[in-house]
Symmetry: C2
Subunit: 344 residues, 2 copies
């Protein structure tokens, strides 16, 4: 078995460990973000962590009702004109905690006396050292270059912060997720064979919105990293404002459409995409959505929408692994990528 496959299967246990061990830290982070002088949350991240950050943008936006924005590291590192951060709480998300650009945003926040939080798998990392509060990802060592369990535990960590604010019902919904995640992994592996028709393709487009906007980006990144296909992500609204022009007959489009308020917006693009001859794949627990697609990637039903990114990414992880195998690639060490990437 590859490291990647091991780590894919470790996700439920890793999530359970996170929930068990980090409850106090999650509460502490939630309190820090809820401090009276916090007007907005600023997140610094790269790669898969930026896709987890997109989940945080929606979830923490709803938990704390404060806007969540992404840092522009070049203002700190390249232009050396960091903004004034009064009103900010600053969160860094990084599995390794090593990338200088992410740590530099937290360092500047500290210099300005603002609260800082790190979500990282490495307690002794440069990022953790810049943080007032650290929520450890508890994913255990991740050896495959492509993130799986550190991604799902980054989502889990963000969900824990939300649950700490939202209350006991949300906490117990989250506690059921390790079992649901195991069920999802089995379901996605079972539903994978029809994916083989996509192995020879050039690329694909993934569409998601709201809490699953980041899921669309993570599915795209995972397939891209592992199989070398050109895969991109859009919200349905952004896709309609121009980029849909590149969807040619036969081009695969993955719709991430679990039950919930964002689903009708994703379904808005079905007819325009069918009109262009796109080959639709659906990631959904809704029969009506799955039936409109050429390829069905079913989700375990009855998952609350706010937690659906934990299951909705799994069909993408499985697709990425399967396409890479079919293309004869090493899933643990994709050509030219490193586990830890240092950028300025």
């Amino acid at each position: 078995m590859s490291w990647l496959e091991d780590e894919l299967h470790e996700q439920p246990a890793a999530l359970a460990r996170l929930i068990e061990r980090q409850r106090e830290n999650a509460r502490r982070v939630a309190e820090l973000l809820a401090a009276e002088d916090v007007r907005y949350v600023l997140i610094a991240s790269r790669g898969s962590s930026s896709n987890a950050a997109r989940y945080a943008q929606y979830l923490l936006g709803r938990a704390h009702r404060v806007p969540v924005m992404f840092a522009t590291p070049s203002l700190y590192t390249i232009y050396e004109q960091p903004p004034r951060l009064d009103g900010a709480a600053v969160v860094g998300i990084s599995q390794s905690g090593a990338s200088p650009d992410v740590a530099s945003v937290l360092a500047e926040a500290r210099r300005q006396g603002r609260p800082t939080v790190a979500l990282t798998n490495e307690p002794d990392s440069p990022l953790a050292r810049e943080a007032d509060a650290v929520l450890l990802l508890e994913a255990g060592p991740e050896r495959a270059v492509a993130a799986t369990k550190t991604y799902s535990n980054s989502l889990g960590a963000i969900a824990m912060i939300f649950a700490a604010v939202d209350g006991p019902e949300a906490e117990s919904e989250l506690e059921r997720m390790p079992d649901v995640l195991a069920e999802q992994i089995a379901l996605s592996l079972d539903s994978a064979p029809p994916l083989d028709e996509y192995a020879g393709l050039v690329g694909a487009t993934v569409v998601g919105r709201g809490v699953n906007y980041g899921t669309a980006f993570e599915i795209a990144l995972k397939i891209r990293e592992l199989s070398g296909l050109v895969v991109e992500a859009y919200s349905p609204a952004d896709l309609m404002h121009g980029p849909i022009a590149a969807i040619q007959p036969g081009w695969p489009v993955v719709l991430v459409a679990p039950s919930g308020p964002a689903r009708p917006s994703v379904e808005d693009v079905v007819l325009p995409l069918q009109g262009r001859g796109a080959r639709l794949l659906a990631v959904s627990d809704v029969g009506a959505v799955l039936r409109r697609a050429h390829t069905r990637l079913p989700l375990v039903p009855h998952v609350p929408e706010w937690l659906s990114p934990l299951t909705a990414v799994v069909p993408g992880q499985v697709t990425a692994m399967r396409l890479a195998r079919l293309r004869g690639l090493d899933v643990d060490r994709p050509a030219g990528l490193n586990k830890v990437t240092l950028t300025r």
Copy 2:
């Protein structure tokens, strides 16, 4: 001549008109953004306007030293859980001013008593009606579906807000730009013939950072809209964190690298891209950068970096138009796109 080509050539005159007519409004907007209780700027936009918003993120971040973030319209429209906006000044950017999701963010800001600004070409639009201050784009009617002069005038409007804060030197630098833009259009049309080798391709990747991060996205969108190629944009740092895996031998990568602090960061990806066999195109005024590329898209020299997005987008507009022609497409009405897109 197509509308698109007319409008491409109208850009210098449109920019001159904007600078002449909107100075007072730009000052008013700058004052509003500099109000004591403004901790951050929130921008709502879609399509090309989102690429102008990326310019604003860097430029207003540097002018006012406050973080600039993008709205998540679905929190307003789909989840109906808009964030608390105390500390925000809210800017909507939209050529038509018609898209409901953009106007709804300004409407919510008004409800919460926060200052609102519209950058729009339509004084009577729903967006303009929600704004305390309107900076009109003064581009005149734009008939081609793909934005050219409304995009460059959106950049111009943002540059005017910056100049109103930065002072007379910046203002006179901006006043020289209509002439420089005319020179750039002539230069880019002259340097276009080598682009013909790309007409049969599937797609391309565009890389830019800092003030030209949005330029990379706009070049990608323009080629995509007009030619139907799959074109995507990344910052060099984001590209290195995984997505570079999809760059296969022969895949075209456009480096947007004008003189300035962000240029070395863009050049960081040259060796990794050459290692993967990418075919490099360079948009630059720097000989050393142009010489490293397979295809040279020269920029007029001596443009201050903060204004370089006004010229750096032109080679992209010209490329988009040329590839569409070679592919036998109607540049004024790309298949399946509308001038005004209404999304929720």
